[in-house]
């Protein structure tokens, strides 16, 4: 029997008995980032494909919420900071090796882009809207004329943003649960799936929903595959990774993970979507909400569980 304790009684808030320095803010931020990345990717993708009129909700409506999601996400990140007055220090330097810095800069680039994108469709959705200033009107005109030019960098940035939401965690070698390169693609796919869910919620066009639904089923299959891969990798890894995997395979995160993420958040909504494609009448709001909730819970679980895992020595 091995007994380990702090002879000096260490009991630091949020550090002991196990790390818990990131609370709800970070997973929420990651969720909103992934969701925004998903929507922006679909918007730019279908714009580049020249489908903006067939895919109204995807290209025009859903992106309206993206600026709000990104700003809210940034606000959550801000809430997470403990030394808030020094927030601006993030933008005084570029730290190539710091995912946190990457994220700050990517958001710095993609947030204005999302504003521009959304603004350019404001008059489509709200015909009575008036930009008032000439310069804004001119700018709008330029944007509308050059949408494809904007769509390309936006597509690229949205993929970076989506991957970043996973890399933020996977870059931490010290937390074995996070320290796997599959987390980037996994979070990207999961983010895109949540983006697709938002689009399905907003779309009133059956054909558009069908296209997005089909993509979403594919995304969910890939996501499930990645999740299986994630745990296979861990179980084939070092002791700390096995311990990390066991948190979800029998440990205290098993029930919420399988119930809310795998079954209710992935398999069940994918099944509903498949049934709808087969022609069954399914209210799309059900799978969409389940996917969104599953995605959010997934990030909460990963952030919470990851902090518990650590090196043993």
């Amino acid at each position: 029997m091995k007994e380990e304790l702090f002879a000096s009684g260490r009991n630091i808030p949020n550090i002991d008995p196990y790390l818990n320095i990131w609370h709800w803010q970070i997973p929420s931020y990651l969720f909103l980032g992934g969701l925004a990345a998903g929507i922006l990717f679909f918007a730019s993708f279908f714009t580049i494909m020249g489908k903006e009129n067939e895919m109204e909700a995807t290209v025009k409506k859903a992106p309206m919420i993206v600026p709000f999601a990104l700003v809210l996400g940034l606000f959550f990140l801000f809430l997470d900071l403990k030394h808030k007055l020094y927030f601006w220090q993030l933008y005084t330097t570029v730290r190539i090796q710091s995912p946190m810095s990457w994220g700050a800069w990517v958001l710095m680039a993609i947030t204005p882009l999302s504003f521009v994108w959304a603004a350019s469709y404001v008059r489509v959705l709200f015909p009575k809207w008036d930009w008032k200033y000439d310069i804004l009107k001119k700018f709008e005109k330029w944007v509308i004329a050059n949408r494809i030019l904007i769509a390309w960098p936006m597509a690229l940035l949205s993929i970076i943003l989506g991957i970043y939401t996973g890399i933020l965690l996977s870059a931490f070698n010290a937390r074995p649960l996070w320290n796997t390169s599959i987390l980037g693609p996994l979070f990207l796919v999961s983010g895109m799936s949540t983006g697709a869910a938002v689009i399905m919620l907003m779309s009133k066009d059956h054909k558009e929903r069908k296209i997005i639904g089909r993509i979403d089923i594919l995304l969910i299959i890939v996501e499930l595959f990645f999740i299986i891969h994630l745990f296979m990798g861990f179980l084939a890894g070092s002791e700390v990774q096995i311990i990390a995997a066991n948190l979800f395979l029998g440990g205290k995160f098993t029930a919420p993970f399988f119930a809310f993420v795998v079954i209710l958040g992935l398999i069940f909504p994918a099944t509903l979507e498949a049934l709808e494609l087969k022609g069954f009448k399914v209210p799309m709001v059900v799978p969409a909400i389940l996917i969104l909730a599953g995605g959010l819970i997934f990030r909460f679980l990963m952030v919470e569980a990851g902090q518990i895992t650590r090196y043993l020595y």
Partner: protein
């Protein structure tokens, strides 16, 4: 229950609100507000350093208080001139700032009053409080004689009040450090070598080649100099042999750990003596030259073979022989450590005698790496008239018991404070200075009876300890960092003197003990004994008498003085021990005269019944007694004690790590509070272990209240050593209570 002296919670006065007066404490470190360190903390040059010596324990290491420009104590560091600490304080010394910055400190004098039929304290001015004390003392003197005033003390405040009581005409002065702690050891060594090993002990650990620890756990007891020297000895490859039912820290660093069955130590010691003598490996030359009674001893231990001891101690014969050989190989650079807290089973003087005899057989006393010869440095008393001779004194409270006690026995003084027809000599008033009797003295009933019978109880302390709740008058003493005290003069390899001077002005209305004693003395008409205005004058005068100067001591803090006598017995020297015959007494005629065994004899002690476990208590390196349990710097390291149990016991009882349980002892005494379980392989299955000093039940100790369990309250049975009155406390057995027994807590 209606008692004359209800226990009063000092917090009920609403003093809490003023508790942050003085205000500058931002963090409870007692340090000024943290600086933004883009590079680092404050550099050393910005501090004023003031000489002090520590008062967190009895080791009294010399150190420096570092005071910031705005008059806050930032930190305390050790003094390199002091051989007791060599510039390195222990955690308690370093954390001494927490004693100064404790928000729960006593702040003003308090007097017990009855308001609306309820007893409470009211804040009083110093004049009022001191007048009250002096008038009561005069009253006691007139009614019963001055001898009826008693004093219980610990540490430096004791000296000032001892002077007060002696001037007043009483010699009834006691300290728990004798009958509850080192008394048996000192008596055992005095009977053998003619003198004790002092404090700090004169053990030459630094240069030893073999050290035996038997029930002594250096490293957990943070006797600084000894911990340092043990570390040095480890570096030098010394063999350490530890006898302990628990894997103590020291045991984990030992070449040999003998996990003895508790209460059988004497059998092991006797069989070691047997092996040394019968394997003919004792130090023959030394014994022939310096000891007497060898033949009697040889005959006495004939049957105490390792095989005999094995059946008692569970230590294998081969291990006993092997460890005895290790000692003999190292002799005379070997120490069988005398220990310190030795009041265990009531035959403790005899056990200490066995330890002393082992040291004698190996020739360690007076040899390098053994026990060096002490040389003190006498600081003369400040001139005062001769003390009046008391008509009776503490010896008379013994009523013929404990004939070999060289110091007073707290318990007989407490007995003498309970009115009874058998008591010719009655104590009616107490001053208690710097000791929390409630948590230091076993046999709570007796103590409570005494407390209820007193006509005057004055408590002088820095903190609202349990004992203050029983006082008629509480006098708030300032901490050691805010006052002058006597010069510390300690025997060491070189005698050393050290100065304590105030680093800052006393906070609140607290006062130094010398001032309090002087004020009472003057009110009692004893002004002749206090012919000084400031204690500085006393120190200045004393140091000048011995060719030293206060100015120098203020600069250097501590000073080693050259020895006048040799450190070890030198070849050709006619060395005489301080016994009557000048020789080491292996056979003690003195003991024989008083009808005790002249040589140690093993007697079996009670063993726990099924479901009960022997209560073993001890020390943690970050706490001193019960006095640091509220020190914010130290409780961060250890906020409460835990009860150590063997995994087998845990399984049997279904107990889990960190689960809280109550303890109940063999007499049905329940612990006030629950205590956390620690499941560990470091303890035997027939015993449990807790660190002493926790489980405070006095609410004004806002942090310490209710944390952990107080071992003293679980000790309702003591075995008193008939030789010197020591209260053996290791014969208590406890069991676990898993459900809340809903016991009402006293306060």
């Amino acid at each position: 229950m209606h008692t004359r002296r209800n226990f009063i919670k000092i917090s009920s006065l609403g003093l809490g609100a003023t508790s942050l007066a003085g205000g500058a404490i931002k963090w409870v470190t007692g340090a000024p507000s943290p600086k933004k360190i883009s590079i680092g903390a404050k550099s050393a040059s910005s501090f004023k350093t003031v000489s002090t010596y520590c008062e967190v324990c009895f080791w009294k290491c010399a150190g420096w208080a570092h005071v910031t420009e705005d008059g806050q104590i930032q930190k305390i560091t050790g003094n390199y001139n002091d051989p007791q600490c060599n510039g390195r304080l222990c955690p308690r010394g370093t954390g001494g700032v927490g004693m100064f910055s404790d928000p729960d400190r006593l702040k003003t004098p308090l007097i017990r009053v009855t308001k609306n039929g309820e007893q409470t304290y009211r804040e009083a001015s110093w004049d009022e409080a001191l007048d009250f004390v002096a008038n009561k003392m005069k009253e006691i003197k007139e009614k019963y004689g001055p001898e009826s005033m008693g004093l219980f003390n610990h540490g430096t405040p004791g000296k000032h009040f001892t002077h007060l009581l002696n001037s007043f005409g009483s010699n009834n002065i006691g300290a728990p450090s004798f009958a509850q702690c080192r008394g048996p050891r000192d008596t055992g060594f005095e009977l053998t070598f003619g003198e004790s090993v002092s404090s700090p002990e004169v053990t030459d650990i630094r240069d030893t080649r073999c050290m035996v620890l038997i029930g002594s756990h250096i490293g957990e007891n943070m006797h600084n100099g000894q911990v340092q020297e043990m570390s040095e000895a480890i570096d030098k490859g010394a063999v350490i042999i530890t006898v302990d039912p628990r894997l103590s820290t020291a045991a984990s660093k030992s070449k040999f750990w003998l996990p003895i069955k508790p209460s059988t130590d004497l059998a092991l010691l006797l069989s070691w003596i047997h092996v040394l003598i019968y394997d003919d490996i004792y130090n023959k030359e030394y014994v022939a030259k310096y000891a007497e009674g060898f033949n009697e001893l040889k005959e006495h231990v004939r049957t105490f073979t390792p095989e005999w001891a094995y059946g008692i101690t569970t230590i294998k014969p081969e291990q006993i022989r092997q460890t005895a050989r290790e000692m003999a190989n190292a002799a005379p650079a070997v120490i069988i450590h005398p220990g310190r807290h030795t009041t265990w089973y009531g035959d403790d003087v005899q056990r200490s005698r066995a330890i002393a005899i082992l040291n004698a057989l190996l020739g360690s006393w007076g040899n390098r790496g053994g026990i060096f010869l002490k040389e003190g440095f006498k600081i003369p008393d400040f001139p005062h008239p001769a003390y009046p001779k008391p008509a009776w004194s503490w010896q008379d409270t013994m009523n013929g018991r404990y004939p070999l006690a060289k110091e007073s026995v707290t318990n007989t003084l407490i007995e003498a404070s309970i009115p009874s027809e058998n008591n010719k000599h009655q104590i009616k008033g107490w001053i208690v200075a710097g000791t929390n009797l409630v948590m230091a003295i076993p046999l709570k009933e007796q103590l409570m009876q005494a407390l209820q019978s007193l006509e005057l109880l004055v408590v002088v302390d820095t903190m609202p300890m349990e004992i203050t709740g029983y006082a008629d008058v509480v006098l708030p003493e300032c901490t050691y960092l805010e006052r002058y005290d006597d010069i510390r003069s300690s025997p060491h390899r070189e005698p050393t003197i050290a100065l304590r001077s105030p680093a800052v002005e006393p906070m609140y209305q607290t006062k130094p003990s010398w001032w309090i004693a002087k004020q009472i003395g003057e009110r009692l008409g004893l002004g002749e004994y206090y012919k000084f205005d400031d204690f500085r004058e006393v120190l200045d005068w004393q140091l000048k008498q011995v060719g030293q100067s206060l100015e120098e001591l203020e600069r250097v803090g501590a000073k080693k003085l050259p020895r006048k006598t040799p450190l070890y017995i030198e070849p050709g020297m006619n060395f005489q021990f301080k016994t009557a015959s000048g020789k080491i007494h292996l056979f003690s005629k003195e003991l024989e005269e008083y009808g005790f065994d002249p040589m140690p004899v093993y007697t079996p002690h009670d063993q726990p019944e099924e479901g009960y476990y022997r209560l073993i208590y001890g020390r943690a390196p970050m706490h001193t007694f019960s006095r640091t349990a509220n020190n914010r710097n130290l409780v961060a390291l250890m906020p409460e004690n835990a009860v150590w149990i063997n995994p087998q016991v845990a399984e049997l009882w279904g107990l889990k790590k960190d689960q809280y349980v109550w303890l109940k002892n063999q007499d049905g005494v329940l612990s006030n509070f629950p205590v956390k379980i620690r499941v560990t392989q470091r303890i035997r299955w027939d015993s449990i272990y807790i660190v002493h000093g926790f489980g405070h039940h006095h609410k004004p100790l806002t942090y310490a209240f209710g944390r952990g369990v107080n071992d003293t309250e679980m000790i309702s049975k003591v075995s008193i050593d008939p030789i010197m009155g020591g209260t053996g406390m290791r014969g208590n057995f406890v069991t676990f209570v898993k459900e809340n027994p809903k016991k009402e807590v006293e306060s």
